[in-house]
């Protein structure tokens, strides 16, 4: 007789409480495959844990966002936010779809160039642009978004030696009704610093002022803030036209759209509360259309979204290492991916699912990563099915920031795989080896021997 499938025995105390009419199903649907490939096979072939990206989802999400904006506004351009995920294959999918590159360092700038992005389609943001970075960006005709006066004067100085005129915009920060207000990037609107910077650029006569840029925040749930920001940038554009008869080419609204991940402390899941691309598009485009900018001078609208375009396409699949019982009787499950790989677990309640079919039984569980660190918690408390050592799991919506903020801490970073639109998996970043780390190190001659030298000193 064939034996029955074993599920570990569990007893749960029933805590009766007032039922919520907005109650969410406690049933956790497993994710047994990604783009048609069984998770078990992905782990067998590429190891555990493994990041998996769906090219089809990236393209679908991009098209959805593009439709929302391009149907509301005549000239729209997306620029892929490199810092969100700068794996070359990911960037190239966005570039194939039509995205420019938005970079915030010399390293990211060079990555965009090696990905074949023309210099004039690279937007250079960020507070740290070296003199060499700026000179390169000027020579390539890239769009330099000036962050502070020191940078502005550096560019004016470079104009003396450069053949080409720099193409610039200023970054503007402002009160958009959100708290805390982001005021560290660019020049402030309300205190007149932004207008002052624009005057200095225009009076210098040495640069081409092409645009205005704002990056009002990240994971913005209030679309109204974008409306206010667009109003204020439009007012600056109108001011430039009135005073200098200068028409700007573009307004860049930055990024910051929320993904459907759930923030820690949020009452409702992100999938229920995150504004849609249509909501954001309506807030921004309606503001620009009703502004006093003349219709024939409507600037190109640039968006630098990262998180909202890539989060859904990324998965992290792995294996349960162990189960244990905590002092208060709660279950703890240890998985093979921790905060070293999933940096975003510091601010998200990640959607963690079993990769195998499980019963409806769940237990209040803390999910720990494999690091020897108390802070290595993926989920503090989750009603989780009864997975055993060796069972596999999948974490959804991990495409943003994890492959750029991950840490080489204690262990090595794993393979990253992309499943193309035909359903074929490809390694797009190889798992690290001991050599990856050791090759960067050098040992002074006197430390080459592991002998501590005592013998020599006593001689």
């Amino acid at each position: 007789m064939e034996k029955l499938t074993f599920e570990r025995p569990v007893i749960q105390k029933i805590n009766a409480g007032l039922p919520s009419k907005f109650g969410i199903s406690s049933r956790m649907e497993p994710i047994t495959d990604i783009e048609g490939i069984p998770v078990r096979r992905l782990i067998e072939e590429f190891g555990s844990p493994v990041f998996v990206f769906s090219e089809a989802t990236i393209r679908k999400t991009y098209k959805e966002a593009w439709r929302a904006f391009s149907t509301r506004y005549p000239r729209v351009q997306f620029a892929w936010s490199y810092k969100t995920n700068y794996l070359n294959s990911i960037c190239r999918v966005f570039h194939q779809e039509g995205s420019w590159a938005e970079v915030v360092s010399g390293f990211e700038y060079d990555k965009a160039i090696t990905n074949g992005v023309p210099g004039e389609q690279i937007i250079f943001n960020g507070p740290d642009k070296s003199r060499d970075d700026l000179a390169k960006a000027i020579a390539n005709g890239s769009l330099i978004h000036i962050d502070h006066f020191d940078e502005l004067y550096e560019i004016i100085d470079l104009c003396g030696t450069s053949v080409k005129r720099p193409k610039v915009a200023i970054r503007v920060n402002m009160d958009t009704g959100i708290y805390p207000q982001w005021d560290r990037f660019g020049f402030n609107y309300e205190n007149g610093e932004a207008w002052d910077a624009l005057n200095r650029i225009m009076v210098s006569g040495k640069m081409d002022l092409l645009g205005l840029h704002a990056h009002i925040g990240t994971y913005m749930m209030q679309t109204g803030s974008y409306h206010i920001a667009a109003d204020k940038l439009a007012a600056l554009a109108v001011g430039l036209e009135r005073k200098y008869n200068h028409v700007i080419s573009y307004i860049d609204m930055g990024g910051g759209f929320a993904s459907k991940n759930t923030l820690k402390g949020a009452y409702y899941p992100g999938s229920d509360t995150t504004p849609s691309f249509d909501d954001y598009a309506e807030a921004i485009t309606s503001s620009l259309m009703k502004s006093e900018i003349k219709p024939e001078n409507l600037p190109m609208l640039i968006l630098e979204n990262g998180r909202a375009l890539i989060d859904d396409a990324g998965y992290l699949a792995g294996t349960v290492i162990a189960n244990k019982r905590l002092a208060d009787g709660r279950r703890a499950t240890i998985i093979d991916a921790g905060v070293n790989l999933l940096f975003t677990s510091f601010w998200y309640e990640h959607d963690l699912r079993p990769a195998v079919n499980v019963s409806d039984q769940t237990e209040d569980t803390t999910i720990y990563g494999p690091l020897c660190m108390n802070i290595d918690v993926i989920r503090g408390s989750i009603q989780f099915p009864l997975l055993k050592k060796g069972d596999q799991y999948v974490i959804r919506r991990v495409g943003a920031y994890n492959n750029t903020q991950w840490l080489q801490f204690i262990t090595l970073r794993p393979n990253v795989v992309m499943i193309d639109i035909t359903g074929t998996p490809h390694i797009i970043r190889h798992g690290e080896t001991l050599n990856t780390i050791n090759d960067l190190e050098s040992v002074p001659e006197h430390l080459e021997s592991t002998d501590n030298g005592t013998t020599q000193r006593t001689k």
């Binding site: 499938t5 570990r8 025995p9 569990v10 007893i11 749960q12 105390k13 019982r325 009864l386």
Partner: protein, 82 residues
Amino acid sequence: MNIRNNIAISESGFVFDPSTGDSFSLNPVGLEILLLIKQGNTSEQISDLITSRYQVEKSVFERYYFDFTSMLKQYHLLVDNE
């Protein structure tokens, strides 16, 4: 080790403790083990019975079994009589 006499156990895995008013739910394997304990089986006998019926190694089962019984003790459903 046995289940306290006044604990009510339903066929569907619902457990009620009349002395505290607490109720609990069991998954099917948990229910089966609880009933085997109630019938007076020893840990070795329970291990033999379960591993002959389910796809699980003895060493693996014992880990989960002792974890399960520690929870029964934590909820004051078990009494030691051995």
